[in-house]
């Protein structure tokens, strides 16, 4: 966190100054470890063993928060008798279909039997969990992760000791944690720990995803993701969501908050298509783009390399350096007709053609972009907090903001298609495009009444009859009272400790999600020290320091009747209102493609065999088996005996577009380097400050050598595992140049979110510079 988020890390340091214990788990001893109380070096790719070991520790030693677990999680729920665990099937859950390469999830369902609050039923989630992690012992953690048993126990005990009624613990991670073929399940394992310890929905608790850039949270809320519309509405699928009705029927839940989906979807269509959208034409539902498969980054690039794409827009990214298998990336770009790149500098993705050995047809358009100080806009951070930034100076020369560019492009497209009579051009003709500045965009995102144009102040005001328009339902209220709420900057010392008047957070300016869980079943705070929101029996309302995340007048003792529907089904003790059953899911009966419980699988390329199951890999992982994307053997590949991992340095920004062109940053880390242990240096004859060549089946790169005890060799089982650290910031352009670590990495991904496995792979290292 200190390495990638030094400014956010100030709060971790402040917590430490106030007595918090900082635990850092990382293959390397980093700048975070340097100030942590406990540092745990770990074998890359073994995190589920480590975290599963903590789950086992909590269960075996009965350290879970009993009242929280019984009432607020699905631990007492009984699962279908057809369910089989990985313990029964040696690494697979019931329902695996090898031919279709996917799970049939029907056996993971809840059974109709009543939940068991004693947690003793053998098919209760609690007992299934206990069996699932029974072999994740401290000894197994030592053998699989290379973490000494004593150190593991210290971590587990510290975490348990610091959780409960009076205390809470938080998990913070940078997005490298997700970059595994089991990435989503890493976060799930942490979620299970936090639910067992009662650390969700409470101050000082939670799981904080520190994102890779400013406002990446914003870019999932107002998504740049292929499969989502704003506010986490699913993108319609061709041939399935054939009409608005079909779409709403398929995606609207029968209970919980997603029963409100039609209001959000119709209001979004009204925001997109304005007057043209009405009940008689499905609110222009068929103007939306429809997906027909996985259009995530790697799939798109593979399609590009196969000549299936004509054009490509790249805004504020540098995939030639920042994405996997750089050679395949470049191959993809060479097969395009046109490429548009907008960035601060002439980055590799815009300039890759210049040193190409042969000619190719891609026409590249480069547009210089404006920096954040040169434009108005908002950042949404990991806490879902929107903070407005005002333009300080005009962008230099021809540089323009992305907003200016997109606005202008839209206007030009509208002018081009104005006289068309073809049906396919109607979306362009009918899309509303009357923005004047960044604030006017925020106003549309916030939403308004269609007749009076009055800003919406809460998403509960939205309607599914076309009388409201809203660009993103969860952002309702960000422009309440016609005021830019994210621009509020009332200092913390002028308000109470939650500081609700600094910026604005979605939803409804709520700072902690699911905060109903900060109070007990009767609505009283779990403790005075951790008081946050509570039920006021006199006023008959939920109140507190934050906006309560609950139906305000729903008393804690409310229980739904058998025939209750939609929001009426949320009982007074259902804090997790986005889930259909209102409970925190320890066991996920649906939603994950690779299993209802996190299970340890080795990375696609590993040094060792899976020590827990016969099933070596995540069975559902996404592969791209093609000649230009070769894989190593799953383990013990004699050509590639070492483990590689990549990361960022504080001094550079991701693929370098914002740092390699700036002398003050470039001089701080001027050359690509690799970090190796003194033992590996000795074994391979690597000299500190000298050169090394690192090889995988995809590429060969050269790097300076930094020999350091901070990159320890680990004892795993009876073997010593050497891990090689590779920062990934360099490329062929800029003030400082070097080979790109990402060239080494293959296209392979987590099945749930299509995120690449870039933090764990194998490779070889030899002293000296590369030959070509």
């Amino acid at each position: 966190m200190a390495e990638c988020h030094p400014v956010g890390f100030r709060w971790a340091m402040e917590a430490k100054a106030r007595g918090a214990t900082l635990i850092h788990v990382d293959p390397r001893f980093t700048r975070t470890s340097a100030v942590a109380d406990i540092h745990v070096p770990i074998r890359v790719g073994s995190d589920i063993v480590f975290l599963g070991g903590i789950v086992r520790y909590i269960l075996e030693n009965e350290r879970y928060f009993h009242d929280y677990v019984v009432n607020y999680t699905n631990a007492p729920v009984i699962i279908s008798p057809e369910f089989r665990d990985t313990e029964d099937l040696d690494g697979l859950f019931s329902g695996w279909n090898q031919d279709e390469h996917r799970y049939d999830q029907s056996s993971w369902r809840y059974s109709d039997e009543p939940a068991d609050p004693t947690l003793q039923h053998p098919r209760s989630v609690f007992q299934i969990l206990k069996r699932h992690y029974s072999r994740y012992t401290p000894a197994m953690v030592e053998d699989a992760c290379g973490v000494p048993e004593r150190l593991f126990l210290r971590v587990a005990e510290t975490l348990c000791h610091n959780s409960g009624r009076d205390r809470t613990s938080a998990f913070c991670y940078a997005v490298g944690w997700t970059q595994h073929t089991v990435g989503a399940q890493y976060i799930r394992t942490a979620s299970i720990i936090q639910l067992l310890l009662g650390n969700i929905g409470r101050p000082g608790g939670g799981i904080l995803a520190l994102r890779g850039h400013a406002s990446i949270q914003g870019s999932t809320d107002i998504p740049t993701l292929f499969n989502l519309l704003p506010g986490y509405l699913p993108m319609p699928t061709a041939g399935v969501d054939v009409s608005l009705k079909a779409y709403l029927d398929a995606h609207t839940a029968g209970s919980g908050w997603w029963s409100e989906l039609p209001k959000y979807a119709v209001s979004l269509l009204k925001a997109y298509f304005g007057e043209a959208a009405n009940a008689n034409n499905d609110f222009c539902f068929d103007h939306l783009p429809f997906i027909n498969g996985n259009h995530s980054h790697m799939s798109t690039v593979a399609d590009m390399a196969d000549g299936k794409l004509k054009g490509y827009f790249v805004l504020g990214e540098n995939p030639v350096v920042g994405s996997m298998n750089g050679r395949l990336q470049v191959e993809g770009l060479r097969r395009l007709d046109w490429l548009v790149v907008r960035d601060l500098a002439l980055i590799e993705t815009a300039d890759f053609w210049r040193d190409a050995p042969e000619k190719f047809p891609t026409e590249v358009f480069f547009f210089p972009a404006a920096a954040h100080t040169e434009k108005d806009g908002s950042f949404t951070n990991t806490q879902r907090l929107l903070q407005w930034h005002h333009q300080a100076i005009d962008p230099p020369g021809d540089c323009r903001s992305d907003l200016d560019f997109i606005l202008d492009l839209g206007r030009r497209l509208k002018a081009l298609y104005a006289s068309s009579t073809e049906a396919k051009d109607r979306p362009i003709q009918q899309v509303t495009w009357d923005y004047t500045n960044a604030e006017s965009v925020l106003a549309e995102i916030n939403g308004f009444g269609v007749t009076d144009r009055r800003p919406i102040s809460r998403f509960t005001e939205l309607k599914d009859d076309g009388t409201t328009a809203c660009g993103c339902w969860i952002y309702c209220g960000s422009f309440a009272d016609n005021k830019n709420q994210p621009a509020r900057r009332k200092p913390g010392h002028e308000q109470h400790w939650v500081a609700p008047e600094w910026g604005w957070s979605w939803p409804n300016n709520r700072r902690i999600l699911y905060n109903r869980a900060s109070a007990d079943t009767k609505g009283r705070p779990w403790s005075e020290r951790k008081k946050y929101v509570w039920w006021n029996p006199d006023a008959k309302t939920w109140e507190g320091y934050d906006t309560p995340d609950f139906i305000l007048d729903r008393p804690p003792d409310y229980r739904p009747s058998e025939d209750a529907k939609n929001l009426e089904r949320i009982s007074g003790i259902d804090p997790f209102i986005m889930n259909v059953d209102g409970k925190g899911w320890i066991f996920a009966p649906t939603g994950l493609l690779d299993g209802p419980l996190p299970t340890h699988y080795e990375p696609l390329e590993s040094a060792i065999e899976n020590p827990l199951y016969k099933q070596q890999l995540n069975p559902a992982l996404l592969e791209w088996r093609r000649r230009d994307n070769p894989y190593h053997r799953p383990f013990d590949d004699p050509r590639f005996p070492y483990v590689l991992t990549t990361y960022r340095l504080t001094e550079h920004h991701t693929a370098g577009g914002m740092s390699r062109w700036l002398s003050w940053l470039a001089e701080l880390q001027p050359e690509m380097f690799c970090e190796v242990s003194p033992e590996l240096a000795e074994e391979k004859g690597l000299r500190n400050g000298g050169w090394a060549t690192i090889t995988t089946a995809r590429a060969q790169i050269e790097a300076r050598v930094l020999v350091t005890p901070r990159m320890p060799a680990l004892r795993v089982g009876r073997r010593t595992i050497h891990q090689i650290g590779l920062p990934y910031h360099w490329g062929s352009k800029g003030l400082v140049r070097g080979d790109s670590a990402n060239d080494l990495i293959a296209f392979v991904a987590d099945p749930n979110v299509s995120i690449q496995e870039s933090k764990a792979l194998t490779g070889n290292i030899e002293p000296g510079r590369r030959r070509s």
Binding site: A2, R10, D37, V40, P41, L151, P670, G689
Partner: protein, 266 residues
């Protein structure tokens, strides 16, 4: 005007180098070249004419306080170094042109329009802070952001420091804060913590630093001298002998003048 200075608490430095960058940006300093040093994460290596804040990275085979890691006896120290603005400043005392002055904030400031680039200050700094720039030949170092102080802004490095490892303020308050911090660290088991240069008693050679540090190992580990002395102070004995020699020279000169007079009068 109260004396101003820095208290740099190295135990909360996270080595982000924001201080180095903020300093260079505010003062528009050039880069030091793009050279991989192989010295941990330190590639600017030392303070100089174009690096007025410098973060040292020390990988040492010693455990830090109660910190626990599977690496055993190991810790990684980081320290943001800067001009100390000494009470007895070697550079100022050696400057023959009066270019180096003490400001109303009690900081030591080089006036570039007066500096003639003689370099006496460079050899007179016991910390090796001040240096001449190759292009203009003049001596440069931290100004304690004199221009910012004039506008009631704290120095750029302190402003940029995300963890408040670099604290700027009134020296009297900084010293009290620092002493409290040392006590607190001792209570928490980091008994090695101590202040470097906080007062004349512990550092008589400089009579105390306006930019002082909290360290957890010997000064030499951080590339700081254990007993820095302003040259003028150390050469007290030399001054005395020089004074005697001076008196002798004056006497001879006077004698010569007198004899001239006498000869002219004759």
């Amino acid at each position: 005007m109260p004396q101003k200075g820095f208290f740099t608490d190295t135990t909360i430095c996270i080595g982000c180098k924001a201080c180095e960058v903020a300093c260079k940006e505010w003062n528009q300093l050039p880069d030091d070249g793009f050279v991989f040093s192989g010295l941990s994460y330190d590639n600017t290596v030392e303070l100089g004419a174009s690096t007025w804040r410098h973060v040292a990275f020390i990988e040492r085979p010693v455990a830090l306080g109660n910190q626990e890691t599977a690496l055993g006896n190991f810790s990684w120290l980081m320290m943001s170094d800067v001009c100390k603005h000494c009470t007895r400043a070697g550079c100022l005392e050696s400057c023959p042109t009066g270019a180096i002055v003490r400001t109303e904030f009690d900081s030591v400031f080089v006036q570039p329009d007066v500096c003639n680039g003689c370099g006496y200050c460079v050899v007179s700094c016991p910390f090796g802070v001040i240096d001449r720039r190759a292009d203009d030949g003049l001596a440069w170092k931290c100004t304690l952001c004199y221009d910012r102080l004039k506008d009631d802004l704290e120095p750029a490095c302190a402003k940029a420091c995300p963890t408040d490892s670099i604290k700027f303020g009134d020296l009297i308050e900084l010293r009290l804060m620092a002493e409290k911090r040392v006590e607190e660290l001792h209570e928490r088991g980091l008994t090695e913590a101590y202040l470097y240069g906080a007062d004349p008693a512990t550092q008589p050679g400089t009579e105390g630093l306006n930019a002082f540090f909290l360290l957890v190992d010997k000064p030499e580990v951080y590339n700081l001298p254990s007993d820095p002395v302003a040259p003028a102070k150390r050469s007290g004995a030399a001054w005395a002998s020089l004074a005697v020699a001076g008196v002798g020279l004056v006497a001879a000169a006077v004698a010569a003048i007198w004899s001239d007079d006498e000869s002219s009068g004759s």
